[in-house]
């Protein structure tokens, strides 16, 4: 990140960020991971913890990427990457796949975002009002339909602007839906009072984190919210 990095702390790598989210996903959840950074989360859920990954294009029970010589050309995920199917996995058509999402059957969706606001608004599909052909894909369905929405993103943009904002300036994907945000600096819950910091990277102070964040931060109680 471009913000001045103090000697006392360093931001998580992308893999560390993904691993941090993976820690909080319990066995038995049905989970949809957004394209990009969230996709890495699956690599950090041990195979003996049965978490069932869903992909919008009709795959439930998705497994890891295949070896190069074991690719099934008929099996891709929503990011158009080749994947595998775990024993117990199934296929369905797009309307059933989105019924899983829109009908509130998916326990968790983790999306990337451009901005998350302190009231839980998410903007992750268009970078300006003037972008007349932005690609929404399944983001609005997931944001409005999943039982819980977490966001995994860098704390700031490449130029150092906070992605945790008072109010989104980019077009919304859905209002008031984000429950938790994992960044490369902190884990924050979205509460009625705004962002509550429940964890920070080692060495960073609350004030240092606040200085890098547009939205006002609150200290969460020591007890971790579920």
């Amino acid at each position: 990140m471009a913000a001045p990095v103090a000697a006392n702390w360093k931001p998580l790598t992308r893999d560390q960020m993904a691993a941090r989210v993976a820690q909080d996903i319990p066995e038995g959840w049905y989970v949809n991971l957004g394209i990009g950074l969230p996709t890495l989360i699956a690599n950090h859920v041990p195979l003996d913890r049965e978490v069932i990954f869903h992909s919008e294009n009709g795959v439930l029970g998705m497994g890891p990427a295949p070896a190069k010589d074991k690719v099934d050309p008929w099996l891709i995920n929503a990011g158009k990457q080749h994947v595998t199917l775990r024993p117990g996995g199934s296929y369905c058509h797009h309307a059933d796949s989105f019924a899983m999402i829109r009908g509130g059957h998916i326990d968790l969706c983790v999306l990337g975002a451009f901005q998350v606001a302190e009231n839980g608004d998410i903007a992750n599909w268009a970078t300006s009002e003037n972008d007349t052909a932005p690609a929404v894909g399944g983001a609005m369905d997931l944001a409005a339909g999943a039982k819980r929405l977490w966001v995994l993103m860098e704390h700031t943009t490449k130029t150092g602007e906070s992605k945790l904002v008072r109010k989104c300036t980019y077009p919304l994907t859905a209002p008031g839906v984000v429950k938790r945000v994992y960044t490369n600096l902190a884990v924050l819950d979205v509460t009625p009072a705004g962002f509550a910091v429940i964890e920070m990277v080692p060495g960073i102070t609350f004030d240092e984190l606040q200085a890098l964040t547009d939205a006002p931060l609150h200290r969460a109680s020591a007890a971790r919210a579920a």
């Binding site: 989105f98 009002e129 369905d141």
Partner: protein
């Protein structure tokens, strides 16, 4: 004897009118009715509205149909691809109309058409610019946006297996939009990788019952490209 198989592409495409709404199955390169798209290019219908998840890749298939100026409007969720050059050029030049629809809403709008439902309410898109100008109604304290059904004059489908009644199976993620588009098309045209005898498909495994299918062409197209 019912026989939905046709022998030639010309028979498969017969009667598609200018101004038609054409639903095109496929997600990524998997389950795309590539041969039928080429058949439609050859057939010549123009002023089309196309419903497909993406607006095509490179200059082949759907992108070629666009490039030839045959498509007035595209309805899709993701106006991007690995190479969206044709769509982006046409769009920038104002030569194609675009309707962006959340992917699940797009699927449901076609499923609704196939099930005789003219419109439905969904929370997807509420509070965003994709709901602007649409009816919002509250149920149990939550706002929902009304979305209308999308009926196709024509649906182009790729199946894995088909019999002469038009019963279909699909392969893995090749299923995607195909079964719902088959329901939503007034004229549903299928290209199938394999032909099987009537009675050979396990009734428990048929995904699209033949009632939703009008014409089937045997096209052993082979595996989708691995990019």
């Amino acid at each position: 004897m019912i026989n939905k198989f046709v022998r030639t592409m010309a028979e498969a495409m017969e009667g598609i009118q200018d101004g038609s709404t054409v639903l095109i199955g496929g997600f990524g390169s998997v389950g795309q009715p590539n041969a039928l798209i080429d058949g439609l290019i050859e057939q010549g219908a123009k002023d089309l509205t196309v419903v497909a998840n993406n607006p095509g890749v490179g200059r082949v298939g759907l992108a070629r149909l666009l490039d030839l100026g045959r498509v007035r409007k595209i309805i899709c969720s993701f106006p991007r691809s690995s190479d969206p050059i044709v769509f982006e050029t046409l769009y920038r030049e104002g030569r194609i109309e675009l309707e962006i629809v959340p992917q699940g809403t797009m699927a449901e709008r076609m499923r609704a058409a196939g099930a005789g439902i003219p419109a439905f309410y969904t929370p997807t898109g509420v509070g965003t610019k994709l709901a602007e100008g649409k009816e919002i109604r509250e149920f149990n304290g939550r706002p929902y946006v009304m979305e209308t059904a999308i009926q196709g004059d024509v649906a182009l489908i790729e199946a894995w297996e088909a019999d002469r009644w038009g019963n279909l199976t699909y392969r893995a993620s090749g299923r995607n939009f195909n079964p719902i588009m088959a329901m939503a098309g007034k004229l549903t045209i299928v290209q199938t990788q394999h032909v099987v005898e009537l009675g050979q498909l396990d009734p428990e495994k048929i995904v699209t019952p033949g009632i939703f299918v009008d014409r089937v062409l045997h096209v052993p197209y082979g595996d989708p490209m691995i990019s």
